[in-house]
């Protein structure tokens, strides 16, 4: 298991190198002079040229790339062009917001999605099932930047019970988390439902019934743990997606998380920030995926034995 974990971590390195190279190339193809952006439209041409030299922007592309990689290994992701603060500390200060948002939405998603999925599968084709599956589809289809706005309109503007912007604090995260969770609830409900439906047809569930276990015991003890294995996987994927992809929700609710930081960095051509941010998200993504795989092995002894 340890060996496997180690191997997986090693496997992440080339991916991260690739991500770095990809982003690096993209940024260099992007029109816009970072020196000019830093200094603003009023600064003189000489100042801009001087800054370009100072920042090493006039160097060879590959020189810049390898210099960056070298620094990144030591944990130095450079300094943001726009704030001159270390990119890493910028990311660290934004990350708690994103983390909180992501954990809250995943919590909501699991708390709603799993029970909905279970009930739906037990009462397949019932009214409840039909409503839940249709709603799940709506949840997947609804754009967060729309549902978020509607929630703000309802709960902040009309009812005045929740703050419209999600800065710090639990209360102000409720609405963004709910908005973001809609899709995850849907995904988890559907996954739980289909997984349950598949598992319930399995022989060992019939075995459990033949042992004289009651329906609840059969579901809770036998069907559910097996059905949840793929649900955990998809939850992990969702979580990874939320960590990096909560951009729109963060924008709608003015949450200063990683996603918004990154989008504004992209818009301001803050190269080190974009570079570091994407790398950060890629690392988080890879770690979450690794975590999911390990979790998978932890939950399913069959998988675990493959890794030995």
């Amino acid at each position: 298991m340890l060996k496997y974990t180690f191997k997986r971590i090693l496997g992440v390195i080339p991916v991260l190198m690739g991500v770095t190279f990809l982003v690096f190339t993209m940024l260099h193809l992007t029109p816009g002079d970072p020196a000019r952006i830093i200094l603003g439209e009023q600064a003189s041409l000489e100042s801009v040229q001087g800054l370009r030299d100072q920042m090493g922007l006039n160097d060879n592309f590959f020189l810049q790339f390898f210099r960056y990689c070298g620094n990144a290994v030591t944990g130095d992701l450079g300094r943001s062009y726009s704030t001159n603060r270390p990119v890493f500390s910028e990311l660290l200060s934004a990350f708690p917001y994103t983390l909180q948002l992501a954990t809250m939405s995943i919590a909501i998603a699991l708390l709603l999605g799993i029970p909905f999925g279970i009930i739906s599968s037990i009462r397949q084709y019932s009214l409840f099932d039909n409503i839940v599956t249709s709603l799940a589809m709506v949840g997947i289809s609804i754009p967060v930047f729309w549902s978020g706005l509607l929630l703000i309109l309802l709960f902040s503007v009309h009812l005045r019970i929740l703050p419209p912007s999600g800065g710090s604090g639990f209360i102000s995260m409720i609405m963004p988390a709910a908005t973001l969770a809609a899709q995850s609830v849907a995904v988890i409900t559907r996954m739980t439902r289909s997984s349950m439906l598949e598992i319930v047809r399995q022989d060992f569930v019939r075995t459990a019934r033949s042992k004289g276990a009651n329906e609840r015991h059969v579901i809770v003890r036998h069907a559910l743990p097996n059905a949840l294995v793929p649900v955990i996987t998809i939850t992990g994927i969702q979580f990874g997606r939320l960590l990096g992809g909560a951009v729109l929700t963060e924008i709608v609710f003015s949450i200063p998380g990683v996603g918004r930081l990154l989008v504004s960095a992209i818009q301001m051509r803050d190269y080190p920030m974009v570079q570091g941010g994407v790398l950060f998200i890629a690392v988080a993504f890879c770690l979450v995926n690794l975590g999911v795989d390990l979790l998978y092995a932890y939950l399913d002894p069959r998988i675990k034995s493959q890794y030995k």
Binding site: M137, P143, V247, V278
Partner: protein, 282 residues
Amino acid sequence: MSTKINFIPFIKRLSRSKTAFFGLIFLCFMLLVAIFAGVIAPYAFSEQDLLNTLATPSMEHPFGTDEFGRDVLSRIIYGSRISLLVGFISVAIALVFGGFLGAVAGFFGGRTDHYIMRVMDVFLAIPQLLFAISVAATLGPGLGNLMLAVGVAAIPQYARVVRAGVLSIRSLDYIEASTASGGGKFYIIFKHILPNCAAPLIVQSTLGVAFAILVAAGLSFIGLGLEPPNPEWGAMLSTGREYIRDFPHLTIFPGLAIMLTILSLNFLGDGLRDVLDPKLRR
């Protein structure tokens, strides 16, 4: 998994699911709206009336007017062209490139497979929306760029689906027979292998169009979409946001358009999966 699709029973089976049927009908409706936008729309999408801005819905303007007095209904109608175009073309881009890469990777296996899939891993390590944002920012605004951004970001998914399909078919007898009888490799890929990946690809593509429309709307929402005065649903929503308290119609109608279109595609995709994927057939 042979998937010679017979059209008539296929539609019949599809329409057994009410939701899939709804999806199909609504999608056809939107396609018609998009094609005949010029005929249906009561106004031109850029026609301004600075004396009648931000009007609430009325007989004259069923969905009201925006901040330049442009008819919201007409803009939504013309906007369907953009959304559907971006949705379909970007998926086509992803399908062509991803499909090709996946087929090559799966068919040749070995090193080719290894390298192609490692590159795909790199793409997959960046969340799709974020990747699309980065590409869109690199390319700048414009219809083509928007399609490209959304499409490129989706390539790895299709590569994976096709590769998995190819792997499951590659070892089958008739492929071996075809190889033995001297068919060229690409001939075999195109003649035998790809058609047999059709079912998962059709499902994936239908859901993919939905996701592409969603991503495109998201990009427009943060200002990485088309140049004005092009009517784009996400951008309309973004503008409406400023007026949401007084003139919610600017937010509600484009939002509904996005949601219903995506919803119908998702319903359809789900129905298709039920019909096409024998494993899940009820």
